[in-house]
C-alpha cells in the first residue's frame, strides 16, 4: 500500500516581470534553497529531483533539466522533467508525490519555474507565426460563453481581479502590486480580448517554486509543521471535439471527484478552509468554482459576488494573489499547490487564513483540458 507523503519545505522566489539579477540556474536555486532551508535539509539529503516548466521555446532551452541538473544538486541522482502545459507545476508536484508514495524515494525535491523575460510568451505560443492571439485570445470565447450562459453581471470578473490584486499586497513574493485597484479601474482598462479587460488578465512573470516532499517518518522528524498530502489526481481530455464543453470541462469535474474521494471530501465548500485555484483570467474563478463543485452550475459568480471567496469569506480563494498577480507559467501550478500547503502549515504569513486545516491546490492547462489537483491538510491522513 502507498506510503504517506508530506510537504516539509516550501520555497518561492520573488516574482517580477524580469528577474534581471539571476540566471535561470540562479532562479531555480533561489526557490530550491529556500525549500531546503525550510525543510532543514541540505542538497545531500535530496534523493531525486522532479522539475516542471512550460514550453521550452519560452526560454529557448530544449529540455532545460539537462542544463539545470547539477544546478539542482541532481548529480548522481534521478531527475525528471514533466510537461503538461499550464498545469505542469501541479502535475510535477503530483509526480514527486508519487515517488514518495510508491516508496521509491524518501526525500524528493520538486521545482517548477519560468523565466519568461528571456523570450516572448506570445512569440512562443505562435511559434513565431503571424496571427497569434495568445492564451487570452483562446480563452476569451469560452469566457463569453460562460457569461452568456450564466447571466453573470459584468462586474463579477472585475471583482475577482480586484480581490486577487488586493490579496497580492499581503504576499511579499507576488509580482503585480496595484494598491489602489478598483472595479471601475478594471472595467475602464482596455479590452485585450473582449470580454477580457487588461486588468482581468494575468501578467507574464519570472519566478520559481520548490517543495521538499518526504514520507511519514521524515515528516515526523520535521520541526516545522508538515502539510500532509491527502490526495492527488490528474485528468486530461481532448482539447477539441464536437460537443466538448470547455466552460465546464468534464476532466476538471472528474479530477476533483477523484481527489475528493481520496481525501474524504464530500462537501467542498464546507470541507475546505481555503483554495488556491488556477485563475489566469478573472472569470475563471466563478467558472472553476462550479467545475470543482463549490457552487451549482450557473451559480459560481454568486459565490464571488457574495464575497465568499475573499479572505474574510467562508471559502477564501487565492489569498496569495493567485495567477492574476504572478504568472511564471511553468511554476504557476506549483505555486497553487505550495500556497495550499503553506496555509495548512500555518506558514502563509500575512495572507494566512486563521486555523486553515484543509486546502485544495488546483492547476489547469492547454485548452482547459489538463487538470492536476491535490488536497493537503494539517492532520495526518
Amino acid at each position: 500500500m502507498a506510503e504517506r507523503c508530506a510537504v516539509v519545505g516550501v520555497g518561492m522566489t520573488k516574482m517580477s516581470k524580469c528577474r534581471d539579477d539571476v540566471s535561470m540556474a540562479g532562479l531555480v536555486r533561489e526557490a530550491a534553497m529556500r525549500a531546503l532551508e525550510d525543510a532543514e535539509m541540505t542538497w545531500a539529503d535530496v534523493q531525486a529531483v522532479v522539475i516542471g516548466t512550460a514550453p521550452d521555446i519560452f526560454e529557448g532551452v530544449m529540455m532545460p533539466e539537462l542544463y539545470l541538473a547539477d544546478a539542482l544538486g541532481a548529480t548522481g541522482k534521478p531527475i525528471m522533467r514533466v510537461h503538461t502545459a499550464g498545469s505542469v507545476g501541479g502535475s510535477t508536484a503530483v509526480v514527486a508525490t508519487h515517488l514518495i508514495e510508491s516508496q521509491v524515494h524518501e526525500r524528493v525535491l520538486t521545482v517548477a519555474f519560468e523565466k519568461q523575460s528571456e523570450g516572448d510568451t506570445n512569440f512562443a505560443f505562435s511559434s513565431g507565426r503571424s496571427g497569434g492571439v495568445g492564451a487570452g485570445g483562446y480563452f476569451a470565447p469560452h469566457i463569453r460563453a460562460y457569461i452568456e450562459r450564466s447571466g453573470a453581471p459584468a462586474y463579477v470578473g472585475p471583482m475577482v481581479a480586484v480581490k486577487d490584486r488586493k490579496n497580492a499586497l499581503k504576499n511579499p513574493y507576488a509580482h503585480l502590486r496595484i494598491p489602489d485597484i478598483t472595479i471601475e479601474m478594471v472595467m475602464e482598462s482596455p479590452f485585450v480580448w473582449d470580454p477580457i479587460h487588461r486588468l482581468e488578465s494575468c501578467p507574464t512573470s519570472d519566478g520559481a517554486c520548490a517543495m521538499v516532499l518526504t514520507n511519514e517518518a521524515g515528516a515526523s522528524r520535521a520541526t516545522k509543521p508538515p502539510a500532509w498530502v491527502h490526495g492527488t489526481a490528474v485528468r486530461t481530455e481532448l482539447g477539441w471535439f464536437p460537443g466538448r464543453d470547455p466552460v465546464n470541462p468534464k476532466g476538471g469535474q472528474d479530477c476533483a471527484a477523484d481527489v475528493y474521494r481520496q481525501a474524504g471530501v464530500t462537501d467542498p465548500r464546507a470541507d475546505f478552509d481555503v483554495v488556491e485555484c488556477y485563475v489566469p483570467f478573472s472569470w475563471y474563478e466563478p467558472m472553476w468554482m462550479e467545475n470543482l463543485g463549490f457552487a451549482d452550475v450557473g451559480d459560481g459568480w454568486k459565490l464571488t459576488e457574495s464575497g465568499a471567496t475573499s479572505m474574510d469569506g467562508d471559502i477564501p480563494v487565492n489569498c496569495s494573489g493567485g495567477v492574476l498577480s504572478s504568472n511564471p507559467i511553468g511554476a504557476s501550478g506549483m505555486l497553487r499547490f505550495a500556497e495550499a500547503a503553506q496555509q495548512v502549515r500555518g506558514l502563509a504569513g500575512d495572507h494566512q487564513i486563521a486555523d486553515a486545516r484543509r486546502a485544495l491546490g488546483h492547476a489547469y492547462g492547454g485548452a482547459a483540458q489538463y487538470f492536476s489537483m491535490w488536497v493537503v491538510a494539517a492532520e495526518k491522513p
Binding site: 540556474a25 540562479g26 542538497w43 547539477d70 523570450g119 511559434s127
Partner: protein, 140 residues
C-alpha cells in the same frame, strides 16, 4: 513554394553574478573562474559545485592559456559553428583551472588538437561580454 520555415528569436538572458563575472572578465580580456568549497577552480564558472550543488561564489582569475584535454577535428563546420573553416573543438584546462573550457581551436589540422598541447585564447577585436569574445583558441 517555401519548403522550410525558420524559428528565430533574439533571447536576452540575464546572467546573474557568477556567469556575469565571467562575461565581464571576457569583456576585459581576462578569464574569471570560481573556486568551490572543496577547492576546485571551475572555468567556466558556475554558481554551484557541479558535484554537490553547494553554492560557489569565490571568484578567481586564471590564465588565458592552457592545455588541451581532448580535441576533435571538424573538417566540415556547420553554419552555427564559431569558425567557418576547418577547426577542432577543444576542451582546454586553462592555467590555474581544474576543469576544461570548450571552444573552437584554430589549429590548421587534426594534429594540432592532440591532448597535452598548449593553446591560448585568441580574443575577438571587439569584446562585449559574451562567450564569443573568445574568438577561438590558437596554438601557443
Amino acid at each position: 513554394m517555401a519548403t522550410t520555415w525558420k524559428l528565430e528569436f533574439p533571447y536576452r538572458r540575464s546572467v546573474g553574478p557568477v556567469i556575469g563575472a565571467f562575461l565581464t572578465g571576457l569583456r576585459d580580456r581576462r578569464v574569471v573562474g570560481v573556486r568551490t568549497a572543496g577547492g576546485r577552480v571551475l572555468v567556466p564558472p558556475f554558481e554551484y559545485d557541479p558535484d554537490t550543488g553547494e553554492p560557489a561564489s569565490d571568484l578567481v582569475e586564471v590564465g588565458s592559456a592552457g592545455v588541451i584535454e581532448h580535441g576533435a577535428w571538424v573538417g566540415t563546420p556547420l553554419r552555427t559553428h564559431p569558425l567557418d573553416r576547418p577547426f577542432a573543438w577543444a576542451l582546454v584546462r586553462l592555467d590555474g583551472a581544474d576543469t576544461a573550457l570548450l571552444h573552437a581551436l584554430d589549429c590548421g589540422s587534426a594534429a594540432g588538437a592532440e591532448p597535452g598541447a598548449r593553446v591560448r585564447i585568441r580574443w575577438r577585436t571587439e569584446t562585449v561580454g559574451h562567450v564569443s569574445d573568445i574568438e577561438c583558441f590558437e596554438p601557443e
